[in-house]
């Protein structure tokens, strides 16, 4: 398993390099230019100097190599510096946003908490709700519980989150006034009151995303349980006189979780990327919103860096899913 993991990590390096090149080229070829952000009243020679200062006039290959160096060398050094108070990265050029002129990584780190609290907790809540529902629905297949669960998850699954989001805003913010419709990023939880405020403003975006996640994962859990409930080894466990609780929650569940855990792990990167629309709907000032703004403003370094980070996460969690699979299923031998 260890050699497998190391081999896969090494293999990931060329994969990610290739992905970074593709992202860089695609983003660069996309229509829209950083110059469109500069007001037309600015004289041409000033424009030129601004562009030179941004490094935007360099050939694409030079910019790509510079970005590589900044991403893989300078930024880690900056991180080390900030962790240990050293100064290895002093004087080095970091990846800088064309829009705000501040380092891309700082902005990303600043936006990360919003996304993690809202989208991350929605994912965790979704998983926690989905597993028991999926297990029980399968065990009582075609019962009223299963039918209702199927119906709700069909809705949660097929109605887009921007629609459920808008409906929730209309009902609970506009009409009932229970929850704020705009997420206040500057809110700091320091007391019971601010905690309640935070809970209130998180309620709707979390509900929308949790419903979506729970629908998906409970379906996986249910069908995986159903696959296993009909297996011969379940009959063997019953023939041994084991209690139903043991039969279902030990024998069947342990087998059923193998594919579900994989799906859950693969879904984690979508926490960062997939919630773009929900963040827009609820005005959560997170990574999704950051990406959208950067695209609109042709902030190429920001778009390239964010997209590449998503790609790294996807590759990483693919690996984690494979490793988990190997740990949960003794039949899998990678080495």
């Amino acid at each position: 398993m260890l050699t497998f993991t190391i081999r896969r990590l090494l293999l990931a390096i060329p994969t990610l390099l290739f992905i970074s090149l593709v992202i860089f080229l695609l983003v660069d070829f996309a229509p829209g230019s950083p110059m469109s952000q500069i007001p037309l009243t600015v004289p041409p020679e000033v424009r030129l100097r601004i562009i030179e200062a941004m490094g935007a006039n360099e050939p694409i290959l030079v910019r790509y190599l510079l970005w590589l160096k900044q991403f893989f060398y300078v930024e880690p050094l900056v991180l080390i510096d900030s962790l240990f108070g050293t100064s290895h990265a002093e004087g080095m050029q970091r990846i800088v946003s064309w829009q705000s002129r501040s380092p891309v990584m700082d902005i990303i780190l600043e936006r990360m908490p919003q996304t993690l609290t809202v989208v991350g907790s929605a994912y965790v809540i979704g998983v926690i709700i989905a597993l028991p529902i999926g297990i029980y629905s399968a065990y009582r297949q075609y019962s009223w519980f299963d039918q209702v669960g199927t119906f709700i998850s069909m809705i949660g699954f097929s109605v887009p989150t921007f629609f459920t989001g808008v409906v929730l805003i209309l009902v609970f913010s506009v009409n009932l006034g229970w929850f704020p419709s705009i997420y206040d990023t500057s809110l700091r939880v320091t007391s019971w009151e601010t905690f309640l405020l935070q809970a209130k403003q998180m309620a709707m975006p979390v509900a929308v995303l949790a419903l979506y996640n729970a629908s998906q994962i409970s379906r996986y859990m249910r069908s995986s349980m159903l696959d296993n409930l009909g297996q011969d080894y379940v009959r063997t466990a019953r023939a041994k006189g084991m209690a139903e609780r043991i039969v279902v929650l030990k024998h069947v569940l342990r087998n059923s979780l193998i594919p579900v855990v994989t799906v859950i792990a693969l879904g984690i990167p979508t926490i960062f990327g997939g919630a773009i629309i929900t963040e827009q709907v609820f005005k959560v000032n997170g990574l999704g919103a950051l990406l959208i703004n950067a695209i609109q403003g042709s902030d190429l370094p920001m778009v390239q860096t964010l997209t590449f980070i998503f790609a790294v996460l996807i590759v990483l969690f693919n690996l984690i899913a494979d490793v988990l699979y190997g740990m949960l299923d003794p039949r899998i031998r990678y080495d």
Partner: protein, 336 residues
């Protein structure tokens, strides 16, 4: 009782029905049999004749719905297994009655060690601690002929061959020293040499442990070698029952005779060596009102269409004790 001791298992008038969309499938229709202490009862019949459903009905292993065990009694000692609670029945399963299934490749849980799976019933029924169960599990693996038993406890099922897995299944079934072992085609999925090894193992274990065995197979050749008594099933019914010698020397039911002809013979000419019974097994929708074998029976006559034959004795002993058959036709015409 003809042979003195009371039977360990006495099944009377067992009826099991599956409720399906196409109607009620009468998979087991008034099946009666008993099992004496230490005896090996062979159950034969082609696929779909109701052998597995009968045995699973005894200990509540059929999913309900669709299965409905509708009538009869299953006396294990002095308790009727059809009347006791689900919890009491769980105390019987795996403790008093051990079950070995047909396919060893799928009957063990792939994600738990073999040791874990043998220890489960020991801790559940015998109240053993983990340490005690581990010692007993090692003994059991050694008993069923698995070398290096202590180390193999930590292996997973996929690390065993089919024959070895079936040995593990036998160890699980025998873990709590049951009165009755039900083996449902335990060798069908194995190749011939492994089949022979498993047969030898069971003969050997029977001598050592003395439990009574129900051995299900569709292979009369296997039965001849190990059974004391044989019960032939067809269409969810018992059509003939006899001590093993009597059945082979004097088969009465047209189906039994046909089955005997399907045993490959080394002496006959090529065509006669391997025969199959013409026709299809019956569809069991609805309660039977005629002989289930009539469509394929060379002896069928008018009465076979209108009346399902009861089992009748051929040797004056009570039905189930000696040689009995469920057929209207008789070679001497005496009972017809």
């Amino acid at each position: 009782m003809a042979d003195g001791a009371a039977p360990v298992l006495d099944v009377r008038g067992l009826k099991t029905v599956f409720r399906t969309r196409g109607g009620e499938v009468h998979a087991v229709n008034s099946v009666s049999f008993h099992l004496n202490p230490g005896e090996l009862l062979g159950v034969v019949g082609e696929s779909g004749s109701g052998k597995s459903v009968t045995m699973m009905s005894l200990i509540g292993l059929l999913p309900s719905p669709p299965a409905d065990v509708r009538a009869g009694s299953v006396m294990l000692g002095n308790r009727d297994l059809l009347k006791i609670s689900a919890e009491e029945l769980r105390n019987v399963r795996g403790a008093k009655v051990g079950f070995v299934f047909q396919d060893p490749m799928t009957s063990l849980n792939p994600v738990f060690t073999v040791g874990n799976q043998i220890m489960e019933p020991l801790m559940r029924h015998m109240g053993m601690t983990k340490a005690q169960a581990q010692i007993r599990a090692t003994e059991l693996l050694a008993l069923v002929g698995i070398p290096d038993a202590a180390a193999r406890l930590k292996s997973y099922p996929h690390q065993f061959s089919g024959g070895m897995r079936q040995r593990v299944m036998i160890a699980i079934a025998l873990a709590c020293d049951p009165d009755v072992l039900i083996a449902d085609e335990p060798t069908t999925a194995l190749d011939v040499t492994i089949q022979a090894q498993i047969l030898e193992l069971v003969k050997d274990l029977r001598k050592k442990l003395g439990m009574a065995i129900v051995w299900i197979t569709h292979d009369l050749g296997v039965i001849a070698g190990i059974a004391d008594r044989v019960m032939v099933m067809y269409g969810g019914q018992v059509v003939e029952q006899a001590p093993v010698r009597a059945l082979f020397s004097n088969p009465q039911h047209p189906y039994t005779r046909a089955l005997l002809k399907t045993i490959p013979s080394l002496t006959g000419d090529r065509a006669a060596r391997l025969q199959v019974i013409e026709g299809q097994p019956p569809i069991l929708i609805g309660a039977p009102t005629a002989c289930p074998f009539r469509a394929r029976c060379p002896q069928a006559f008018a009465r076979c269409e209108s009346e399902n034959p009861d089992r009748r004795s051929l040797d004056g002993r009570p039905v189930g004790q000696g040689h009995d058959v469920a057929c209207h036709w008789s070679p001497r015409g005496a009972h017809a």
